[in-house]
Symmetry: C2
Subunit: 185 residues, 2 copies
């Protein structure tokens, strides 16, 4: 349901994802290859087995952008493999998390969502609509620069990672005349 457009430096991603909607597919396939490689390495290093279920789950997960809930992912997986249980998805996502390929996130609605965490990809932050739950992703170098400065001032710290979440309301929810909700386009 959404778009994906680059808007320039300082404002990069624009990948709206809806709670119940389907996140868009990742574009670069060589990235996928690399990620897949990390996965098989992980399996090998831990003497874990390759199974049809895992293959499908991982394949579906890695080609997503944005955040997936267990339900979303299971639905996708079942299109390729009928009869896959929730437990398997939960268990596989745990492995993905342990292997560093997935990052669990809580947006406050009680469900855990997962996103592909690619060290080599750009980090992104989130804007969550308090009205409808729409989650937009963004990147902002200026903010990151200020964060680094701030940390330096606070005692010479170096920022290793960070988490920034903005919770807001869209023009429509604010009751602005003519305002529309990005989730409706």
């Amino acid at each position: 349901m959404l778009l994906d457009s680059n808007v320039g430096p300082g404002l990069d991603l624009f990948v709206p994802t809806h709670r119940t909607g389907s996140p868009p597919l990742a574009s670069a396939s060589h990235d996928l290859e690399r990620l897949r490689g990390r996965w098989t390495d992980y399996l090998r290093r831990n003497s874990l087995k390759t199974t049809q279920q895992r293959e499908v789950i991982v394949a579906q997960f890695l080609q997503l952008q944005g955040h997936v809930s267990i339900d979303d992912l299971l639905a996708r997986v079942r299109k390729h493999q009928k009869r896959v249980g929730y437990a398997t998805v939960y268990r596989t996502l745990k492995l993905l998390t342990a292997s560093g390929l997935a990052t669990p996130r809580q947006f406050g609605d009680g469900q855990t969502r997962y996103e592909v965490s690619d060290d080599e990809a750009h980090h992104h932050d989130h804007l969550i609509c308090l009205q409808c739950g729409l989650i937009l992703e963004f990147e902002n170098e200026e903010i990151e620069k200020l964060q680094d400065q701030m940390a330096a001032q606070l005692g010479g710290f170096k920022v290793v990672r960070h988490k920034l979440e903005l919770y807001g309301v869209c023009p429509k929810a604010m009751g602005q005349k003519g305002g529309y909700c990005p989730n409706e386009s």
Copy 2:
């Protein structure tokens, strides 16, 4: 792992607290008065009743700093009022949230924690040391300004609240010669 103390403009709090420990009590009692006033206003405006249970729950909650889980809070409440049910605490915290006095937070362990959110107090963000868990609080207007801009660009959103956490390492942990850890001073 949490805390606070004043250090000056732009770089404010600095006070330690533990996740599983008991948050410290708030210092300024006139603040408490003001918060309490907001609560009674909220009750009045919504034709809600003042009950003994609510009184105790709200009193206990408002005098805390840091984050409390429902269990923590209920335990405190029960010291003053035996026989208060979980449901009442949940319901009251929901009212506190609706009134703007409480903010729910998820740290990823499945439990929701709440903290006092005081509009008139300055909002602060956190810098967490990955080495020792020290948590510094800070404020940065420039960053907030950029956040507002970002949200506006992402579809005209207005930021209602945000969460920013920086995870970093101190000079000492980085192995810098002469570098020291703020937690040791």
